[in-house]
């Protein structure tokens, strides 16, 4: 059975792989046998991520990519195909967050969140799909959020973008199912990365946050990595159009 959880021989492109959850997903896919293209805006971060995968015995390539630039996406996918082979696993992870009273959110703020969190996912999926259709298989993992189903004040653009990721996931899943492509959404809750760590810096806030989590703790990036491996591997071949919440039970959305 363990071999069904292997991604040996697969080529994965992970956006936002420079830090946090994206980096953990890239590391986990590398450990599970995939060749991983680590994509993000910061050269230092993608090179460090790729080096960490290589140091752990995996195969990786650093890719500088700003997912809000369509021409960079097309060129990036071609570059990965030339260097590692056609992409058969896409992890749409790049995202930004924004907390602001909605009356103060500018058009530019709104557009920036939607461009990074939603439009980039469509463009990356569109760029890799023809290759996957030719292969007759593929896995697309869109990183959503429990904020896609929770109503969180001061996060209108972020919540809307993450709810939209669910819709994108289901539509792509239905459209490409016949080509052997599975599209699922990985929706984390609070995970131990820079932003939640900063938000929970003082003990009282931390206790308040955790009182809403049945597991009474935050998730670790490695736990997100393990779910990504499951969703990227043949173990999930009969599962598509699903959103899996990794949130210690916080949402339990229907």
């Amino acid at each position: 059975m363990a071999d069904r959880f292997s991604v040996e021989g697969r080529v994965a492109l992970v956006t936002g792989a420079g830090r946090g959850i994206g980096r953990a997903i890239a590391m986990a896919l590398g450990e599970a046998g995939a060749a991983v293209a680590c994509a993000a805006r910061s050269r230092d971060q993608v090179e460090a991520a790729a080096a960490a995968i290589a140091a752990a015995g995996g195969r990786a390539r650093a890719l500088r990519l700003d997912v809000t630039r369509p021409e960079q996406i097309v060129a990036g996918v071609e570059e990965v195909a030339a260097a590692l082979g056609p992409v058969d696993v896409l992890v749409n992870n790049a995202g930004i967050t924004m907390e602001k009273p909605t009356t103060e959110v500018t058009d530019e703020d709104w557009d920036a969140v939607l461009a990074t969190n939603l439009t980039s996912m469509f463009r990356c999926a569109r760029a890799v799909a023809p290759g996957m259709i030719r292969l007759g298989r593929g896995k697309i993992i869109n990183v959503g959020s429990m904020y896609g189903v929770l109503g969180v004040p001061r996060y209108a653009a972020y919540c809307a973008s993450k709810a939209a990721v669910d819709g994108l996931t289901r539509s792509l899943a239905a459209e490409w199912a016949r080509h052997g492509i599975q599209v699922n959404c990985l929706a984390p809750g609070y995970v131990n990365t820079d932003i939640p760590r900063a938000a929970m810096a003082d003990e009282r806030t931390r206790a308040l946050f955790l009182s809403k989590v049945p597991a009474r703790r935050v998730g670790e990036p490695e736990e997100v990595g393990a779910l990504a491996v499951y969703l990227a591997s043949p173990a999930s071949d009969f599962m598509t159009g699903q959103t899996v919440y990794l949130d210690g039970g916080q949402t339990m959305a229907w």
């Binding site: 059975m1 363990a2 069904r4 959880f5 292997s6 986990a28 450990e31 599970a32 996931t169 289901r170 899943a173 239905a174 199912a177 016949r178 809750g189 989590v213 049945p214 597991a215 009474r216 703790r217 998730g219 670790e220 736990e223 393990a226 779910l227 491996v229 499951y230 591997s233 173990a235 999930s236 071949d237 009969f238 599962m239 598509t240 159009g241 699903q242 899996v244 919440y245 990794l246 949130d247 210690g248 039970g249 339990m252 229907w254």
Partner: protein
Amino acid sequence: MDLNLAGKSVIVTGGGSNIGRAISLAFAREGTHLTLAEIDEGQGRKVVAEAKSRGAASAALVQTDVTRWESVQAMVREVEGRLGRVDVLVNNVGWTYDRLFVEKERSEWEREIQLNLWGMINCTRAVLDGMIARKAGAVVSMGSDAGRMGEFREAVYGACKAGVIALSKSLAREVGRHGIRLNVVCPGMTIPASDEDFGERSMWAADVNRAFSTPEMQARIAKAYPLRRIGKPEDVAPAVLFLASDAASFITGQTLSVSGGYTMM
């Protein structure tokens, strides 16, 4: 990815037939201590032998009627006595008759509620004390897409499966603080590959359900699934293993449809 399930004590209810059999054999290959809580002795013995030959650290049959609380308690006591603990419970027993609601006998509804809901309540209740004491444990229960979106000819069955989902979520809230996780996997229609894969007490032995076994019927059903095929028992087993393992250590209260995209919710 190594799921680190080797050496874990795993109970699979209804582990002798169809999906339960595939789940049991998948846990066997991971080197677990496997217990089949199965009412059909002959089928159970067969699968225990298969499990041993496929790498189980140990495999045992404990003949169990999941609808009877005394039988379930005795089964869990036996496992805790023999292995010291239960790490994983898979509530797999399930049953339905393919019939319209208004055409079903009350006795058929009652049988569905007994097997699909009471069985899950009994088994889950019985393992929780030990799991709470050890501050660890995973319960994976088989739901159904019928319980998420409703289904023709599966009214009471669907209601039971919705109950399995809600019970799992409520308990996930209650016992999350003890490190115990409960999740649900919803298979699509999963028809046994051969008559060898289920016992005479399986729902697949019931005449009314045999109608699904014809190739014409299966081709018709496959069209309802975006992935254009009917589920195999082996499709579901990896999802159960994943949720039962520490790889899913921050996932609880979730319902996962592994059904070829039949439901996307």
